[in-house]
Symmetry: C2
Subunit: 296 residues, 2 copies
C-alpha cells in the first residue's frame, strides 16, 4: 500500500473513545495537517473536556447523531466491550461514503458486529488494529508520535470499497505507521500467539505468586527479569478480559500448543537432559536475537 500523491486532509473526523489510542491518532493527524476538525465522543464528560483542553479534539458530544453530522471518517477507539452498543447507536446516522474504522485488538469479533449492526454500510467499513503499546491510558497519555514506525493492520471485508481502504491506510501513514493488510482470521491467529498468549501467561505467573503465603518474600527477591516478564500483567484487566473472550478459539489453540511445548521442556528437565534444555534455550535465544537484529 504505497502512498499515492499528497494526502487530502480529512474534513471531519469523529472519534469514539478519546484515550491513548484515539487521542494519539488525532494528535498525529493534527501535527501532520491531515485533519481539519475532530469531534470526540465518550462516556466521560470530564475526560472529553480534558481532551479538548489539550487540543486532542475540537468539539465534543455524547450524542451519536450530532457526532456523525458531516463526518468523513468515524474511528471507533473505545474498549472492545463497548463496540456492540456504539455500533448500534451510530447505525441509523451513517451516510454512504462515511468511512467507519476501528482500533480494536481483535478483529473477527469486530467484523461480526459490523455485519450484525452495520449491514447496510459494509462498503464503507474498514476494520483495523494499530499495534501500539498501551501501558498508560486516557487522554493525557496520548502522544503525536505513538504510531511512528508501528504496524497498523487493516482487515478489509470482501465488501469494503478499495478506495475507502486506501483512504484509511493513507490516514495511518500520515501518523508515521506502516500499514499491513490481511484477513481478520489471520490477524487474530497471529496476535493470539505473539500478544494474547503472553498476556495470559504473565497474569498467571503474578497471580500464582501473589496467592502464596510467602508472597511478600517472593516479590522481595524478584529482579529485573521478573519485572520485564510481567510488565504486560500491568495491562487493563477489563481490556484483556474482552480480548481473551473475543479471540477465545485462537487463544485456546495457542495456549494448548504452548502447554505442549512446556510439557516437552518439563520432560527434558525431569530426565535431566541438559543437551535438550540447552538446545531449546539456544534456539530461542538465537531466534530472538535474529528478530531484534531485523528490527534495527
Amino acid at each position: 500500500m504505497a502512498e499515492q500523491g499528497g494526502f487530502v486532509p480529512i474534513r471531519r473526523l469523529t472519534v469514539f473513545g478519546v484515550g491513548l489510542i484515539g487521542g494519539s491518532l488525532t494528535l498525529a493527524l493534527k501535527a501532520a495537517g491531515a485533519v481539519v476538525e475532530v469531534t470526540g465522543v465518550g462516556r466521560s464528560l470530564s475526560s472529553l473536556k480534558l481532551a479538548r483542553e489539550h487540543g486532542l479534539i475540537d468539539r465534543m458530544t455524547d450524542n451519536a447523531a450530532e457526532a456523525l453530522e458531516g463526518a468523513e471518517v468515524v474511528m471507533l477507539a473505545m474498549p472492545v466491550g463497548q463496540m456492540d452498543s456504539v455500533m448500534r447507536a451510530i447505525a441509523p446516522h451513517l451516510r454512504p461514503g462515511m468511512l467507519v474504522t476501528d482500533a480494536g485488538s481483535t478483529k473477527q469479533d469486530v467484523v461480526s458486529l459490523m455485519r450484525q449492526h452495520l449491514g447496510a454500510h459494509l462498503r464503507d467499513c474498514v476494520p483495523g488494529h494499530p499495534v501500539a503499546g498501551a501501558e498508560l491510558s486516557g487522554p493525557l497519555a496520548a502522544r503525536a508520535d505513538l504510531y511512528q514506525r508501528r504496524n497498523v493492520v487493516l482487515t478489509p471485508l470482501a465488501e469494503s470499497d478499495p478506495a475507502g481502504v486506501q483512504r484509511i491506510a493513507a490516514m495511518w501513514r500520515q501518523c508515521g505507521a506502516q500499514v499491513r493488510s490481511m484477513t481478520a482470521a489471520e490477524h487474530d491467529a497471529i496476535f493470539a500467539a505473539v500478544s494474547h498468549l503472553p498476556h495470559l501467561l504473565a497474569y498467571a505467573l503474578v497471580d500464582m505468586i501473589a496467592a502464596r503465603d510467602n508472597a511478600g518474600q517472593l516479590f522481595d527477591f524478584a529482579a529485573s527479569g521478573f519485572r520485564d516478564f510481567t510488565r504486560i500483567a500491568g495491562s487493563s484487566p477489563e481490556m484483556w478480559r474482552d480480548i481473551a473472550l473475543a479471540n477465545r478459539e485462537a487463544l485456546l489453540a495457542e495456549l494448548d500448543a504452548y502447554l505442549a511445548q512446556v510439557g516437552q521442556l518439563r520432560a527434558a528437565l525431569q530426565r535431566g537432559d541438559g543437551a535438550a534444555l540447552e538446545a531449546t534455550f539456544a534456539q530461542a535465544r538465537s531466534a530472538r536475537q535474529d528478530w531484534l537484529d531485523r528490527l534495527r
Copy 2:
C-alpha cells in the same frame, strides 16, 4: 546484618571467573578502597588480559596453587558448571581462615559440592548469590555500580564461622548491596518461582514461535510486550541449562504449580467466564503494582 564499624580492606582477593559478576565485584571493591590486591583466574587468557588492562584485576594466573597464595577471600564467579572442577583444584591449597564464597545462581548444588570437595574447610565457606541482571557478559560488561541497591543472598552452612559470614556480608555491603541470609533450600525455592520458572517459560514461548512455518510473520507483528516478556530468553543457554538442572526439583514443583494455575485460566476461558478472567487479571495487576510501589 548491620555494618559494624569501618571495613578493613581485603588484603588479597582471588576471583575465579572475571566476567560481569566477578569483574563488577572487583571494580566495586576497588572503587570503595575495600581491596588491596586482586588475582584473576580463568580459562581464557585473552579474557584475563582484558580484565587486567581494564583494571578489574592486578595479577592473573591459570594455576590454582599460585592463585591462592596469600588470598584472604576466594570468590568463585565462574559458570556453575565449572564449580566441581574448580573446587577440586583449589581444595589442596586452601589454608585455615581463607574464606571461600561464590556467586552461583543456585545454592543447594554449591553447598553439596563444598561438602564433597572442601569438607575440611567448611568453617570458612560462605555460599552466596548476588541477584544482579546478566544480559551482557564478559569482563567488558563489568560495572562498579552493578550491585548498588541489589540483593545479595548468603546461605551460610551450619559449619560456617559467623565471623567469616560477617566478613563476606560486609564485603558485599561495600559494593552497595543489601545482604540477606537464608538456608540454601529456601533460596532455591524462592528463585525457582521468581527467576528460574520465568526463564523457562520465556524460552518455551520464543521456541514455539520460532518453530512455526510462519515464524517470520509472527515475529513481524510482535511488539514491545513480547519483547519485554521474552527478554530473559536472551540469556546464556549454557548458564540456564546448569541452573535448571541444579535446581531441578524446585523448578519442577514450580512448573507444576504454574501449569495448574494456567489450567484454571484455560478452563475459565473455555467456558467464557469473563468475571473469572477479569478477577485473575485484576489481582495480578494489583499485586504487581503494590510490588513496584514498594520498590520505589
